[in-house]
């Protein structure tokens, strides 16, 4: 069993003839916030969906909290909190009922459920919409409901697919603080296609393009490299992506 909370080893995923993820490998330790950066269609969501047990890999191995994603999907789902790309929720349910339902299937009952519900509602500022149906919530509130549901069982691994999508600028700032606060002891992997956002939150950067990992380095190291070369983080990331693409082509 690996010490890493998230372990992806040489994973490939095909959709018919299309190779969406091509031999991807990386690990995320507890306490790390890893930003998964790449353009639309690069393979970010596919990797996250494989980790969440929704998509089976074509080949390779994925582990979450020491559990194999294909062999022990239920153990993986218990250990992780997941905010999916489209954040599809049960729209007809009221927010409170939805959180209680998700907490319930994670085995939370009575006082423990009330304590965890109060915590996530407080942290995601959902109090004003607790009695509303999810379908009546704004996009920002829906995103927060999804985040609250992902956190209600106090998971040790968080998978967040485009988590700031739909949040206003103030909410994005608050989200960054919140994720940093959640980080100790947790492995957090979140996807984005915005470098500035990733650089603000993450401790490490993974760049994926064309289904392959093009760059995997701590943000601090990349910033130091940028300062040394008189460039920017953006130029370092773009250079790395170009070099690996050119290398692969040759």
């Amino acid at each position: 069993m690996s010490a890493a909370r998230i372990r992806v080893a040489n994973v490939t995923r095909r959709y018919g003839d299309h190779l969406a993820v091509d031999g991807v490998s990386f690990e995320v330790e507890a306490g790390e916030i890893v930003g998964f950066l790449g353009p639309n269609g690069a393979g970010k969501s596919t990797v996250l969906r494989m980790l969440s047990t929704y998509l089976p890999p074509t080949s390779g191995a994925l582990e979450v909290a020491g559990h194999d994603v294909e062999r022990e999907p239920l153990a993986v789902r218990r250990a992780m909190g997941c905010l999916t790309e489209h954040n599809a929720l049960f729209d007809g349910m009221r927010v409170r009922a939805f959180l209680d339902f998700v907490g319930g299937v994670h085995g939370l009952r009575g006082a423990r459920l009330a304590e965890r519900r109060a915590w996530v509602v407080d942290r995601t500022e959902l109090a004003p919409v607790m009695k509303k149906r999810i379908s009546e919530c704004s996009k920002g509130f829906r995103q927060r409901v999804g985040l609250a549901a992902a956190l209600i069982h106090d998971p040790s691994v968080l998978l967040l697919d485009e988590p700031t999508h739909g949040l206003d600028p103030l909410q994005v700032v608050a989200f960054r603080d919140f994720v940093r606060e959640l980080s100790p002891g947790r492995a957090i992997l979140f996807s984005s296609h915005i470098l500035a956002e990733v650089a603000e939150i993450a401790t490490r950067l993974l760049v994926i393009q064309g289904g392959r990992i093009r760059l995997d380095a701590p943000i601090a190291e990349l910033e130091a490299r940028a300062a040394q070369q008189g460039g920017t983080l953006e130029s370092i990331v773009l250079d790395a992506a170009r070099e690996t693409t050119a290398g692969a082509a040759s």
Partner: protein, 272 residues
Amino acid sequence: MSSPADVPARSTHDHDSASAARGGATAGALTGVRLVAARELRALFASAVAPVFLIAGLVLLNSLYMNEFFLAGRLDMTPLFDALGVLAALLVPAITMRLWAEERRRRTFELWMTLPLAPWQVVVGKYLAALALFALFLVGTLPVVAMLVSLGEPDLGVIAASYVGALCLGSLLASAGLFLSSLCRDQITAYLLAVLAGALFLATGHPRVALVVDGMAPDLAVGRVLADSFSSLPRYEAFLRGRVEPASLVHFVGWTVAFLAANASAVRRLRP
């Protein structure tokens, strides 16, 4: 999202580590089923499906029965259960058609598949919700029993057996409809397929249909074989005559379990 300063320190990660190490806490198998069933039943009532099903179905069924009751003038509920068989084949698919097709359309299927619930728990939970709604529909016919009892001495044994038969038929139709819903993205297609399946289960037991099918290939006697070994109609009618036969129970329970198992397998295969 509030700032970190105004919040107590999050629960210790010792809990997380221990939780992850042992696979974490989760709802027991039956608790999971109960939670899914309760959620689905609430969802049926939150939409127009349950009220329309209950009100329209009961008005139609009771009207058909009362017409027959006043014409025949007998303290007998058989005409109600005869009509119920056909009505159930038309109305139960209206409950089940959305149960999976809607999840796929709204992309909430992915949410189900990332919750710590096995596919069979979700399938059985959805089936129980549909069956509970059908049982509620049957409860809506109890005033007829009260009326017959107040007018004389109907055969309560036959009536009780008929209710068992109706619940068995509802169970088969609900499990078949749920399974067919998992094969469709579109609710209308799911409804039509489920009505067709219900019609097959019932019509194949009708003597005229059996004769027509037999006439197509007299040597094979397919119509008779279907009526004897496949159709639910003769078994349902046995309940209406007051006979609760083990073979009939095995027929309905067997088909229900088969459809639920096929449904759980189909849900597993629905992952892209």
